[in-house]
């Protein structure tokens, strides 16, 4: 309501969330030689933070700001611009369903509806057991295999509603088939 004022000048301790580990900081520093400015390591740093913590917590943003020598607000600005960064905790696995035209024409809407029902959550929500979060995203560039969705790093293609039970019950549904490069950690170690 417009007569209410949100106080932004203070923040409760518990809203800050966890900070970066020494290892994550070290990992971020390995990106510095790649660019002529430290600030350019912003996106890698946020990926690293999100891989470690599960989301970009306020404290992690502050830590990154300190590492990259920018004001914390500059980190927040970037985090909120990109859709892949989360500012609150998410489930162990994030299901990202494509909602763009090709997938929609191939039945993406039905897949999304079925997922919502099976998981019992709506978009942007996380199952009570913390296992899955659900979001939609614009075209994932796998339109030839629509409808498609990603579970963490793994893209599932030509998903049919009747496949969902099998996919959801597969513990390795987020494992990719190619060898991983260790430049970034797998999402959500926790």
């Amino acid at each position: 309501m417009s007569w209410e004022t949100i106080d932004r000048t203070t923040v409760a301790e518990e809203k800050l969330g966890p900070g970066l580990s020494a290892a994550a900081r070290e990992k971020i520093r390995t990106f510095f030689p790649r660019y002529p400015s430290k600030r350019a390591a912003m996106l890698p740093a946020l990926h690293i933070a999100q891989d470690e913590i599960g989301y970009c917590s306020l404290r992690a943003m502050r830590d990154i700001a300190e590492l990259l020598e920018v004001p914390p607000s500059a980190v927040m600005d970037v985090v909120t611009f990109y859709t892949q960064f989360w500012t609150h905790p998410r489930g162990k696995k994030v299901i990202t369903v494509c909602r763009s035209l090709s997938c929609e024409l191939m039945g993406g809407k039905e897949v999304l509806a079925a997922l919502k029902e099976k998981l019992g959550i709506d978009e942007h929500q996380t199952t009570p057991d913390g296992k899955y979060s659900l979001v939609t995203e614009e075209c994932l560039a796998s339109c030839d295999h629509g409808p498609c969705m990603q579970i963490n790093e793994k893209t599932h293609k030509c998903v049919r509603v009747e496949d969902l039970d099998r996919i959801l019950s597969d513990p390795d549904n987020d494992k990719i088939s190619m060898p991983r490069s260790d430049i970034f950690d797998a999402p959500q170690k926790t």
Binding site: A41, L43, V78, R99, E138, I183, F184
Partner: protein, 479 residues
């Protein structure tokens, strides 16, 4: 004579991502050839080939490289692997199946432009592809293709993959550069163009993955081969994508200049519509170029092209020029999505408008407010509360958002208004049919419910959702 694939020569070959397989098929020979020439000669060769950018704008790569200042000290090469234009996936195919072809292209472009560092800006959603490309890059580094004194040529090039994090507008070249610099991906005002002042304030070349993947072939197969492919002003091969309910959705390589009809129905391409349905419409080059009428419309009298008349437009030739005759923006990414006859055009409009509203970076007023307003209108139309007036309004708004160049900083709203405007214009009759079929009080009821202020003051309290089902959090849920 069947066309011999070059850009996709290794697709389907076992282990095609490995250096060994790539080299066995003649890989990195283009680079060797380039190293035998002076950088300026490579630029000239590319200029003569009239290789036009495959990223959407179709700007000749050789000419772009020629804009670099002569007395520059540092040059950066940015590889645009932010493929986010729905429904485009040809860059993904290249990266996934033939990463070394891209790397060789990077080396040739880097050598020609004197770049010392190449950044591959890869969209964040490419996760599996990141690992494939990173592995290929590691392999190439190990074999001495990157780093210092490459193949004894004295040329040094470092190459890094920079992962994005979900923003279509970071595919725009200056948005990409801003994002690379660790900022929000807001396109920059031009001039200065990146060739003069780009990444980290240094001269920068931005090229699409496919543009670069063409380079090894121009060098190894020569100019004559290249110029023998394609149409008058559009030379070379192109990776065409087709998706939607066709029999063989996928990416197919052909010389520039096939028609949309071939792409949908050709046995080497889409293989016809699933279940024998007819085509209502098709976005032939990514959403942003606009829509063509399908074959549910009558065939035009021979040779007639007139987007104002309601004819079947599938004979549009997919090169850099012909789509303009059909009221489209251009070739775009040459990735077609087919709308079958039984899909409600209002759903298509909603999907398209939501995309641009979600992806506008929000700097320019026209783009930020216009895309979202149209999205909100489309939402209402789709919910069964449209007015004829809305269609006029949308047409008017698109006029002021991007039909005339120069209204905004980047090309996103241009890309937004073409599909929106062509949808509303070319399928107006269907929209009108739906509107006529609505219950008489649907409009009044809906408007009263969502914006009583439009009927009476004071303004409704409570926060509206900007994006129903957006991939960002709702407004109310803040940090």
């Amino acid at each position: 004579m069947p066309y011999e694939r070059v850009l996709m020569q290794n697709v389907g070959v076992p282990n095609s991502t490995s250096l060994q397989v790539y080299k066995a098929a003649g890989g990195y020979q283009g680079l060797v050839k380039a190293f035998g020439m002076k950088p300026g000669e490579v630029v000239d060769l590319v200029r003569q080939s009239n290789l036009r950018g495959r990223g959407g704008a179709g700007f000749p790569a050789g000419v772009k490289w020629g804009f670099l200042p002569i007395d520059r000290e540092i040059t950066y090469l940015c590889v645009n692997a932010d493929e986010s234009e729905p429904p485009t996936f040809c860059n993904r195919i290249t990266i996934e199946h033939d990463p070394h072809m891209l790397l060789e292209g990077i080396l040739i472009a880097g050598y020609a432009t004197g770049s010392t560092v190449a950044y591959i800006y890869m969209r964040g959603e490419f996760m599996e592809q990141f690992h494939v490309l990173q592995k290929a890059l590691d392999e190439a580094y190990q074999a001495g293709y990157f780093g210092k004194n490459i193949l004894g040529s004295g040329y040094d090039l470092e190459c890094y993959i920079h992962r994005g994090a979900g923003a279509y507008v970071c595919g725009e070249e200056t948005g990409l550069i801003e994002s690379l610099e660790g900022k929000r991906g807001q396109p920059r005002i031009k001039p200065p163009f990146p060739a003069i002042e780009g990444a980290f304030h240094k001269p920068t070349v931005v090229n699409n993955v496919e543009t670069l993947a063409c380079l090894p072939h121009i060098l190894t197969r020569g100019l004559d081969w290249w110029l023998s492919l394609g149409t008058e002003a559009s030379k070379g091969p192109k990776m065409y994508c087709i998706s939607g309910p066709v029999n063989r959705p996928g990416c197919y390589e052909a010389p520039l200049g096939i028609t949309v009809r071939e792409l949908i129905y050709g046995d080497d391409f889409g293989g016809g519509m699933r279940d024998g349905k007819k085509v209502k419409g098709v976005f032939p080059g990514g959403l942003s170029v606009g829509v063509l009428r399908g074959d549910i419309f009558p065939k035009p009298p021979d040779g007639q092209v007139d987007p104002a008349k309601g004819y079947d437009e599938l004979d549009c030739i997919l090169d850099f020029d012909d789509p303009r005759h059909y009221g489209l923006l251009g070739l775009g990414t040459a990735a077609a999505v087919v709308i079958p006859e039984d899909v409600d055009i209002r759903d298509v409009l909603l999907n398209v408008t939501r995309f641009y509203s979600h992806e506008s970076c929000g700097q320019c007023t026209q783009c930020r407010e216009g895309t979202n307003w149209i999205y909100r209108i489309a939402r209402r139309i789709q919910s069964g509360a449209g007015r004829s007036y809305d269609l006029d309004l949308i047409a008017e708004l698109t006029e002021n958002m991007g039909m005339m160049p120069g209204l905004s900083i980047c090309g996103l709203p241009d890309g937004a208004v073409y599909p929106i405007r062509t949808l509303v214009q070319k399928f107006r009759a269907e929209f009108e049919r739906h509107i006529a079929a609505q219950t008489p009080d649907a409009v009044a009821k809906t408007i009263k419910a969502i914006n009583p202020a439009a009927y009476e003051l004071p303004i409704q309290e409570g926060r509206a959702l900007a994006h129903v089902g957006g991939s960002m959090q709702e407004i109310g849920d803040r940090l």
